[in-house]
């Protein structure tokens, strides 16, 4: 079926550490996107990355569409990076579906 999976489900980091979050998606999913949901519930766009690599400050993302996965890299993590990270993708008929999320806690 149509799926978007994320790993790990939970992650605890010491401030300053690096991390990699993974998103696997099925054949019928494309136009990958990464979001950060802050503690107030707002979904913040991080990357729209159907393929290739993008970087924005301490964050970068890579999507290898032919192998059906995307990675989000967080370097030198800060406490403000805490929250839930979602990947999402478009399926047929313009539907956009989400993975279950990775809950990140960065401790000082």
């Amino acid at each position: 079926g149509i799926q978007v999976e994320q790993s790990p489900p939970d992650l605890i980091l010491q401030e300053g550490a690096n991390s990699t979050l993974r998103c696997n998606f099925s054949d019928s999913v494309n136009n990958l996107q990464w979001f950060h949901q802050n503690p107030w519930g707002q979904l913040i766009n991080l990357f729209y990355i159907p393929s290739g690599t993008k970087q924005n400050g301490r964050l970068s993302a890579t999507t290898v569409a032919t192998e059906r996965y995307s990675l989000l890299y967080i370097s030198s993590s800060q406490t403000t990076d805490s929250g839930v990270y979602f990947c999402a993708g478009k399926t047929s008929y313009d539907k956009v579906i989400f993975g279950p999320g990775t809950s990140l806690s960065v401790i000082p």
Binding site: N31, F35, G41, N45, Y48, F86, D94, K95, V96, I97
Partner: protein, 113 residues
């Protein structure tokens, strides 16, 4: 630039009461529009999406309905709320044709008592 509005921000309603949540987008035309629900500590569940006025695709329920009376307006409704309708409701839009980058509104926290 484009902006998406949702209201109200929070809502407490008794079981059996009606519901109307509104979402509007500014600064774009003919967007794709989406309603999602997020239960506490869970992922986003797609409820409805629309690619044009009067065109609604339902993904899940039962107790909720959606309408798109104008190009940039998307409404989520219920005639009688259930306890299980509690959650965080998020509206989103994408440009559609040339990009599927999705943008979200601030959300409505609904508590059914």
């Amino acid at each position: 630039s484009q902006t998406i509005h949702q209201w109200p921000a929070t809502l407490v309603q008794p079981v059996g009461s009606p519901l109307s949540l509104e979402c509007t987008v500014e600064g774009t035309s003919n967007p794709n529009l989406y309603w999602y629900r997020q239960a506490a500590g869970r992922g986003l569940q797609l409820l409805f999406y629309s690619v044009g006025i009067g065109q609604i695709s339902s993904e899940v329920p039962q107790n909720l309905s959606a309408s798109r009376p104008q190009d940039r307006q998307f409404i989520l409704s219920s005639k009688k709320l259930l306890l299980s309708d509690s959650g965080f409701y998020l509206c989103a839009w994408t440009p559609g044709t040339y990009s599927y980058e999705q943008y979200f509104g601030p959300g409505t926290r609904l508590t059914v008592t």
